[in-house]
């Protein structure tokens, strides 16, 4: 505890604009220690639990799988594999309902568990990870299917392979969103795991310093982490207590608070020499490197007045929300909405028959009191409260105005793509406008427009290329014909006028053609493409080719629509 006070006074912290003091509602779910959830009979594992390309299934219905076995492989650089979270039989590879704001079903591997929890053969543990190269460690982390567990679900290995030197590793233990306590509980109960992961990440990135940011509303977690850190004695690594202010757990906000640096718009933390990982991710890295275990389980907070016994459960990835809620005492009579994630950034689920993914941190069954119907939205009265609350210093009211008017250009001029969708603006809006929904919608529209533009551009390029190709072929044909003609002309001279019948036939045909041409010319018609290419035509073709090449090099895509 002394160390904590000391650190508080030592390190200068920075502010970000806006933000909110929210009722944190965390105590409801921190009363009991984390319990392992009972193994479900059915596991539904979406192929896309991360940002990037979906994983490619390696198993088919009927296959038996072992716990920890890779059942779908990463596809491409930004992707992550999926592992069986328990042993059993694959019963289906098909589209199932998944937790996604779109509400659309997505491809999943469905496993019927056998209850035996038989492990697959795991990669060898590397307690001596310091002896391993960065590449080896990154590969191990990638193969373990680790993604950002704070909610973003970005493949961790990609972040660990920056193309520039990294000075600071930031570990995110802020957990700023109300109700969610899975990181808090992880730090309280498994601080040594988190710190072990931090040691691996620290070594891997070769950073100068490491800052572990935790909001000051989690004294137990701060204590546990400080003690665990003291035992490990990692160089230049600190637990930094930060003020509780939503959304200080946002990556860019936390970096700002801890280091004073602003990640440039459209950039990533590596651009300012920083890499940021969540505490849950750090623990998963420890499991993967030190024990060879892939990411197949996580801690999930079940809370809200709609849940009989709020708690944190250690859950096999792929367990259905409905089963977990059953293990938390089931729904109370007051349950009225089910939210995946926290109240600010989470989204409502229409049904609890969806699986828990790697990045799912919280199931919030809210009562009508907790998540009341705000009533119909009124017009924006331009009060500016949203702008005051926005942590990115945007002007949400202007973005709303243009998003509503579908003026995509203007809405981007007001920096729509800097919006982190934290919901601060919507929370304070007296007109109860669902602002974030408008921004998501506008972003989607922009992406669609960009895709359309690219498609059109593509089609144009293809068309141009085709025209050029046809012209070239025609030109080649002409050139060949001309050459032949010349040869034909020459030959009779050389042979002294002796013509064989074949040649005579050709000559006759050519004469006919020439006559026809002359006749057409007389009538004022010039058949197309009957002459060899002029110089100007040749130049045109070359230009078209050059344009095509330039376009396919992607030089024109950086401009925004």
């Amino acid at each position: 505890m002394d160390a904590r006070v000391e650190q508080r006074s030592e390190r200068r912290l920075y502010r970000f604009h806006g933000g909110l003091h929210l009722p944190d509602n965390k105590h409801q779910s921190t009363g009991q220690p984390v319990r392992p959830a009972a193994l479900p009979t059915l596991l539904v594992l979406p192929l896309s639990q991360h940002i990037g390309a979906p994983a490619k299934p390696l198993v088919a219905p009927g296959d038996s799988v072992l716990k920890g076995q890779m059942i779908a492989a990463a596809q491409g650089a930004v992707s992550a594999p999926v592992h069986a979270s328990s042993s059993g039989t694959v019963v289906a590879v098909e589209k199932r309902p998944v937790p996604h704001p779109s509400g659309l079903p997505a491809p999943c591997i469905v496993i019927e568990t056998d209850g035996e929890e038989r492990w697959a053969e795991l990669p060898e543990p590397w307690p001596d990870f310091e002896q391993r190269s960065a590449d080896e460690l990154i590969q191990r982390i990638r193969d373990a299917g680790i993604v950002g567990m704070g909610g973003a679900a970005f493949p961790t290995s990609v972040k660990l392979d920056p193309d520039r030197p990294i000075d600071t590793l930031v570990i995110n233990g802020a957990e700023c969103e109300p109700y969610i306590t899975c990181d808090d509980m992880l730090m309280r109960e498994r601080a040594d795991r988190v710190i072990a992961g931090v040691a691996v990440l620290r070594h891997l990135l070769g950073v100068r310093q490491c800052l572990i940011g935790i909001e000051d509303n989690k004294p137990e977690a701060i204590g546990a982490m400080t003690r665990a850190l003291a035992e490990r004695d990692l160089p230049a690594t600190e637990v930094v207590v930060i003020p509780t202010r939503y959304p200080s757990g946002g990556e860019k906000q936390l970096i700002r608070v801890l280091t004073g640096k602003e990640v440039p718009s459209g950039g990533i933390p590596a651009h300012v020499g920083i890499v940021c990982h969540n505490v849950g991710t750090a623990a998963a890295v420890a499991d993967a490197v030190l024990e060879g275990k892939p990411l197949i389980s996580r801690i999930v907070t079940l809370t809200g007045e709609g849940i009989a016994a709020p708690c944190n459960l250690e859950v096999a990835v792929g367990s259905l929300a409905s089963e977990l809620i059953g293990q938390a005492g089931g729904y109370s009579a007051r349950a009225s909405h089910l939210i995946l994630g926290g109240p600010m950034m989470g989204f409502a689920l229409p049904d609890d028959g969806v699986p828990i993914t790697k990045a799912a941190n919280c199931l919030l069954a809210a009562s009508e009191r907790e998540d009341p119907d705000p009533g119909p939205a009124l017009a924006c009265i331009r009060c500016g409260r949203c702008a005051e609350a926005c942590p990115v210093t945007l002007l949400p009211q202007q973005m709303y105005w243009y998003a509503k008017a579908k003026d995509l250009e203007k809405v981007q001029e007001y920096n729509l793509f800097d919006c982190i969708e934290c919901g601060c603006c919507a929370y304070v809006c007296p007109s109860h406008i669902p602002l974030v929904q408008y921004y998501r919608y506008a972003k989607n529209e922009c992406w669609d427009q960009e895709r359309e533009r690219k498609k059109a551009e593509h089609a144009r390029q293809r068309h141009e290329a085709r025209v050029a190709r046809l012209a070239r072929l025609e030109a080649e044909k002409k050139a060949r014909l001309k050459k032949k003609k010349a040869a034909l002309k020459k030959k009779p001279d050389a042979a002294g006028g002796a013509a064989d019948p074949k040649k005579a036939a050709i000559e006759a045909a050519m004469k006919r053609a020439a006559e026809k041409k002359a006749k057409l010319a007389q009538e004022g018609v010039t058949p197309a493409n009957t002459e060899a290419l002029t110089e100007a035509q040749q130049r045109q073709i070359e230009q078209a080719e050059a344009r095509r090449k330039e376009a396919s090099d992607g030089k024109q895509t950086s401009e925004s629509p």
């Binding site: 700002r256 600010m344 689920l349 907790e370 210093t393």
Partner: protein
Amino acid sequence: MHFSITNSPHTDRPNSVVENMLWVIIALVPGTIALTWYFGWGVVIHMVLAGVAAIAAEAFVLRLRRRPVKPAIADLSALVTALLFAVAIPPLLPWWITLIGILFAIIVVKQLYGGLGYNPFNPAMAAYVLVLVSYPVDMTTWLAPRMLDPHPLDFLQTLGVIFGQGLPQGMTWDAMTSATPLDVMRTELDMNKMISEIRQSPLWGDFGGRGWEWVGNWFLLGGLILLYKRVITWRIPVAFLGGLLVMAMLFHFLDQEAYPFGLFHVFSGGTILGAFFIATDPVTASTTPRGQLIYGALIGILIYIIRTWGGYPDAVAFAVLLMNLAAPTIDYYTQPRVFGHREADGE
């Protein structure tokens, strides 16, 4: 189990338009009581009249536009417009002038532009200017404050006057009415009187006209309530009063006898009401933080200019309307620096 889908954030919301409007109404109470105390029942009668007219007009237009009537009435914005208009006009104004003002405010200035949130001009102030220009005599006939008027009218008498029954027997307009302090200051300065002379008159209190200065104080209390409840932010009122004060003090410093001192301006006419209740109308004001400072300050400066050199003794309404016009431009040029868009200044 199935659930209904709701939009984020999935929480109770701390603010609502109705609550804001309610607080504006509550914050008007101290000033209204002061006005009633010094100038009689007229203000209350006009408030009721204006309020009823505004709600009726709003309901009527919404029905014509085939829009839901109830939510628009329930947001209380029409009522707030009506009350602000009512506290700004002379207490004995004939009823039909109030009616014309309110119909213009609600039907033309507010609803023709699309209703709450879309109107570029402050409805109460636009209406005020309309009736001021159309009925200048009625609009500048103010009652004398009670300490200067030996025979104040009772409630029924006031009602009678407003509804065209004429004055009770034995009373004359001349005896009851008096020019406002701003008016007096102007005419007498125009007559080349010195300020120290003008202030000898029994009309004058500590900084402004007697009675008037107290009305200003009570509206100020209301303004502080709005600030405390965070219905408004400090930027517009502070910049507004600051702009006015700086101008007034500057000229007063140049010539103490020709330009009244700063507090006279602050506690005369509609200054306080304007700074806290009118210029802060979010719909028509600037919406960016820096823009609000500029917007407020320019209103204050404009008020000083119009009061001192313009054609009307008071100028809050004109200044506010002029700046309403400028607000979108101000907003455009005062966009805040977005996070991550330039080098951080933190280190």
